[in-house]
Symmetry: D2
Subunit: 351 residues, 4 copies
């Protein structure tokens, strides 16, 4: 084992990130050290790069970023029994406390004392990352490595789609960023009868079609609510999967939702959203669900079962693959919003 | 059978109501004619009396008001088999179409073609009222007549409280009008461990205590969110039962709701409510339910089982009892919001 | 309209069926008369043909058989508004009373006063069949006619599969008769990760593969419980879909079910089944569901949405197509259990 | 801290138990040492005392018994943060592995690698007991000590009653041993409209009344199925809570269950039970649930919320209180089945 390693870090308050040589983490008795094979850049990483207001309040430099990844177990702590060196793994990077009300109720994903590896603790944009054994998720070798690197956002999609009935249901995905696109594939794999998608960006609309959407609408040039009501005999969709965080899309989504339908909200608006609670929620008898993270670990079970069975095809999502050192061009491309998921390889691209 | 009867009607566009002599309704093969024993005035009746904007758009005079009542079956149509003259009954006054998507899914209470007796069709502020047999609800004689007259709003309360888990849960009732007060009693009867209630009106706060609320807060003189967080170790309540329709109360309710909690919204805001979707719904992983009417007829089964078993005590709710002719004083008192449920007796007060 | 028609009937107690000329049914104000395009023979029809003990207790000759069919509306009653002549339809042949406890709770499929068209009332093995308008199910023209003829058993399969979570779940189908085979296709369409199937008959095992089963086992030559435990790391399957009614298969199914799993039982055993309640249900924390009929009408909504979307492929199931007059050969073939679904055409084979 | 302590142990294969002086357990970094205030004897302890077949296969002497208790934290391991010395606590004595399929799905109570303190590891019939910190359950001081000693069986009752809807539901409790009796109180506290109970023992029938049962039946002198059907208009009960493990009671329970009802089975039959699956489960569309242990830790949350709120009164259940040394008389009385819950005090009776 080397003593030091390469890592992509926020070393001080302010814009940008730095490649540094830092110590390989030392692990405790319940921890696991993972050699990172592939990692992936999340929208949150872009916010931290740009040092927006949220980042300024949350991030305490220096810290290594990166919370989407897969790798191979390098070393295990003394009390770890269910994992062994050589295992192909990913991990849930949200660490829950285990003793708050939510943890006791099986809602660890909304633990009152949540910490996130790659945000609050050193993450996976490095040759090695330290993870508590409880949070390690073993992967079947049948799951491709590049899929293994994006289980965090795929888990968001699976959590959202499977938060209620989907088989035989019509669905609307508002917003076709990576998680919206994944949601389309997951919804179809799980029996959704018709998936509508809305997206203003042309490239993403094309991807939405490739992922399996039945009807893709551009809200800038057509009225998605009217189109959807027409296509559903005036009834509206059974399920709204809100992935955009855009107030206008959220409002359209609620208008397109049928009475008695389900609205599962994952996208993060940056301001208060004025909702017509009476017409869109109360008189409709709608169910609105806030979706955060991934259920620990029900979502992981569902997601990896679907992947292992080859039920979800994600190829169109992948963009470039770069060495960790080339992060600047990767982050720049993602700022434009057209790059899909860019994979970074802290230990070199091998596959 | 007499040919004519006394009825309290909106006879023309404009403020006010009129006592008229009108024809006793003739019934079709699937209908039932009920002699009204006791009826009760709803907030909606006040809106129609006052001829507000909603009323102007919805009400087509002439029409007899009244959708909260109980009575005795006088006559049945030729094809009616499950009901007989002399039965003590109330009724679900929402008429569903039976063939829309929602009706087919067992969500008749949010039917796309809903009509309401007492609003769209002649109602129960009259000596007799005509109801389709499917909508008649037979009452056990163990249920007191004055309880039978308010099953419509009690059903709103039961629908809201039992829209999710309540046993062993902490709950917050925002707004202690009649349905809020009923919700307190229902929640306690169904095992809620602690019921908090907020209400600005002193008289209603006193009633909230009588109905069984554990802690009653006045949002004008204390911060209910802080008090509730303190009382729950910073966690918040498991369940929000929103009964006020007031934006401030709705926002406080969401702030007092725990992560992973349920917010069931019945109160009707008169304007858009700016919601902090990110903090109050999405990051919280909350479930928000719009509640409308009563489930047909699961709510009726639950409600009458609780009443028959003597589990829900509603006495503090009742105010005056008046003959139909004295409606003016009854409506005037209700405008002040302090009168509780006023019962009107179209066939005279006997009991 | 002709006054008489051809029908396949049980005219008297005893074995066999007869083609008769009988009156075209006259319809009441809430009924619909359907011209039958295609009908299908159910296992129940075989029991009635054979005049087994159950048939002797239930069937009151003369009666026209047939409860699986589709057709075109010929005539509607005076009060029927949502259906019109020319509509392509099938129907739920279970008639519920509307007023018993179960009907009031939205469980009409287990109504206390259920009657079945084609068993208790004249059915669809005839040129025309009379159905109450509430029970008519309009079909999208995108659904092929031969699929429309088997919605009754397909509904059994959809009801069973969707009685709990299936997406990302492993499932075991015990018994690959027509409904078992349909269940395989439905489970895969709705995201089941791995479907195991057991079946003693070689031809049906081949069909199970064609319908999409991942692993098909012959319990006569291999131990299905051991194979399934091996394939699931000793855990067992998440879901058991019991379609055989065979005590040995039921017992194997429970042994192969994981702790915390769901067992949905549709197959009808002809004798008491000794269950190891402690090991197979109680210590396992299992959920066992009795499945009967189709949910009215949630199952119809789900099923036709899946079919319209082209998500469920049933072609391998279909056997011969015969004119109604050739029923004897059709029934004879089905007795052998190898014929799949045989379609009968009371108005002639056109397509 | 003393080095040794008094404990009630099975020291060797064979009948009986022994009081021994043994070492005070030494704790690891994640453990807690609790000074036992009150413990309670379970039916399982009687089986181990009697050395029945199950005990011979499971128990590896020497081992200290006792899994129902409460106490005060004496000492905590180095990594324990959420618990401190002096805390009033009980504990979930089932230890789950954390990494099997069930643990990952939030079903830790049916973990594939479950170990039980007091059966597989040294238990609470001793002055001190060692428990992993995760399994400690802090108790509000409002909960009486003698209630704190029986949370294990009370949790069984709460788990069973709240495994489905209970508010406004009729319920049948078959078997009025301690857990059956607790279930009556819990069901009433959570809004059950009518609780029927069956029990052959006269003393227990009297207790069932005291716990709140509405109707208590003696199956030796009356037909409980007929009585219940009569009392429910021929419909049957909504919920069966099976607490006896007796085949006859199980069969009666299923016959008394309404179509669409829920049967939650906790009692442990000692032999296979022939079930009429067709009439009692399949045609009924019933849901049968195996119930084991307590949900970790949802049941604990619900149970302690109900107790803290004073909603469940258990006083009639308690029998004698004895010092640990007087275990022989306590076990002897329990063998007769009439003693209710006997509390044993390893550190002396103080209260």
């Amino acid at each position: 084992m080397p003593a030091t390693m390469k890592a992509l870090r926020k070393t001080q308050a302010g814009k940008g990130l730095q490649i540094e040589t830092t110590k390989v983490p030392s692990i405790g008795p319940s921890d696991v050290l993972v050699r990172v094979k592939a990692s992936s850049i999340c929208g949150t990483d872009l916010h931290i790069y740009g040092w927006d207001r949220w980042s300024q309040g949350r991030i305490k430099p220096p810290v290594t970023l990166g919370h989407e990844f897969c790798g191979v177990v390098e070393k295990i702590g003394d009390e770890v029994t269910a994992i062994k060196p050589g295992d192909f793994v990913s991990a849930e990077m949200h660490l829950n406390c285990g003793h708050c009300h939510q943890c006791r109720l099986g809602q660890a994903h909304i633990c009152q004392n949540l910490k996130i590896i790659g945000i609050d603790l050193d993450g996976a944009f490095a040759e090695f990352v330290k993870i508590p054994a409880t949070n390690i998720w073993k992967l079947d070798p049948a799951i491709p490595e590049h899929y293994g690197a994006i289980l965090d956002p795929l888990g968001n999609a699976v959590h959202t789609v499977l938060a209620g009935a989907i088989a035989g249901q019509t669905a609307l995905v508002t917003g076709c960023g990576p998680i919206g696109l994944m949601s389309i594939a997951v919804a179809k794999a799980c029996g959704s009868s018709t998936v509508f998608a809305t997206e203003t960006n042309e490239h993403r609309r094309k991807l939405a079609k490739e992922m399996g959407a039945d009807t893709v609408l551009n809200p800038l040039s057509e009225d998605p609510v009217q189109k959807i009501l027409q296509a559903t005999n005036g009834t509206g969709v059974d399920v709204l999967l809100e992935m955009s965080g855009q107030p206008a899309a959220i409002q359209q989504g609620f208008k397109a939702l049928r009475a008695g339908g389900r609205a599962s909200l994952l996208g993060i608006p940056t301001e208060n959203v004025p909702l017509d609670l009476v017409q869109d929620v109360i008189f409709k008898g709608a169910t609105v669900q806030g979706i955060y993270g991934r259920r620990m670990y029900e979502t992981w079970v569902q997601m990896t079962a679907l992947l292992k069975a080859g039920r979800v095809h994600l190829e169109p999502l992948f963009g470039e693959r770069v060495e960790l050192e080339n992060f600047e061009s990767a982050f720049a491309k993602l700022q434009n919003g057209l790059a899909g998921k860019i994979l970074m390889y802290p230990n070199g691209i091998q596959k």
